[in-house]
Amino acid sequence: TTDGRPVAAGAGEGSSSSSSPSSLSSADVDGVMVALEEMGFMLGGKIVERLTASRSRLQDEKDIVKFICKDLWNYLFHKQADRLQTNRRGGYVIQDNTLRWLRHMPPMPDTAPPHKRPMAPVSVICGIIRGALTHLGLSASVSASVAEPPCCSFSIKIPS
């Protein structure tokens, strides 16, 4: 798309822009997050392909989500996710209390404005989870909330 280009220009500075987005408008930031999520999606697919090369097919939805919490988490962060919950509406919530990629973030109060929150790494992880699920046969939407870094939870919604 044509508006893909300015997004990429922002993504280039992305290594720093999550902490100093002052020069970017909020539409730019949104675009960068979409690009990062898309990048994560590709990455998630590739990782799952490697992790599942020598194992039998995962059939059950629960097994797939467990696989994300254990195997994928181990691959990405050298640990398993701390908590997996199902909510009643057929979704899942994965919680990690010490997310490795947010370890060096300063603590922040709940009132911190959204643009100060560490959206960049979290967008990538959302993309990775969504990509992994898709390649395991589940199309889902994934969103994240960072209450207090490095604690972060990801909710997976599977349309029935």
Partner: protein, 186 residues
């Protein structure tokens, strides 16, 4: 200081670093380049962007390098090149390079990379012949050296991904940057 000394310093520095799976790094970098290729129309602008991203990493990474490597000031540019090849590359990528091909003024040389972890799983199709896949590394070197007041140019000249025998980075010294003090109040 001797090459052996730097090799050892590189080992020590590497052992102190937090590790990330090389496979994960390679896949992530691959996704990044793919995304850039999608977003940009021209391959040349992808090269420029990769270099720029590397530059932004380099100007920050040099702090970590100086803090953790225990390397003192370099005597001359030859020394600098050896430190990059044997200590910095080892510390951050777990590879070393050979420094060869010095010109007579000792301002330009070639870093021969034995191995490039970013290249794992990568095959470049013929239509991507203009892509400098690992250009980010060159940006990191340029950015890092700029923070220690050295302006250099740095780019891939040979790449195993394009069928060359080795991966080689050309490194050329341009000038020593002078510190300029600007008083913003005036």
């Amino acid at each position: 200081m001797s090459r052996q000394h730097y090799l050892k310093a590189g080992e020590v520095a590497f052992s102190k670093m937090d590790k990330v799976s090389a496979e994960l790094l390679a896949l992530t970098y691959g996704s990044l380049v793919t995304q850039l290729l999608k977003d940009k129309e021209e391959i040349e602008s992808v090269n420029v962007q990769l270099e720029k991203m590397g530059y932004n990493i380099g100007i920050r990474l040099v702090d970590e390098f100086l803090a953790k490597s225990g390397i003192g000031p370099c005597q001359d540019f030859r020394d600098t090149a050896e430190v990059i090849a044997k200590v910095a590359l080892k510390m951050f990528l777990n590879v070393t390079a050979d420094v060869t091909g010095w010109n007579s003024d000792l301002t330009a040389c070639t870093l021969v990379l034995h191995d490039n972890p970013l290249n794992e799983f990568v095959e470049l199709p013929a239509s991507m012949a203009g892509l400098k896949y690992g250009e980010l590394i060159c940006g990191v070197i340029r950015g890092g050296l700029e923070q220690v007041h050295m302006r250099v140019s740095c780019t891939f000249v040979k790449d195993v991904l394009k069928g060359d025998d080795t991966s080689e980075i050309a490194l050329e010294f341009k000038e020593i940057l002078k510190e300029e003090f600007v008083d913003e109040d005036e």
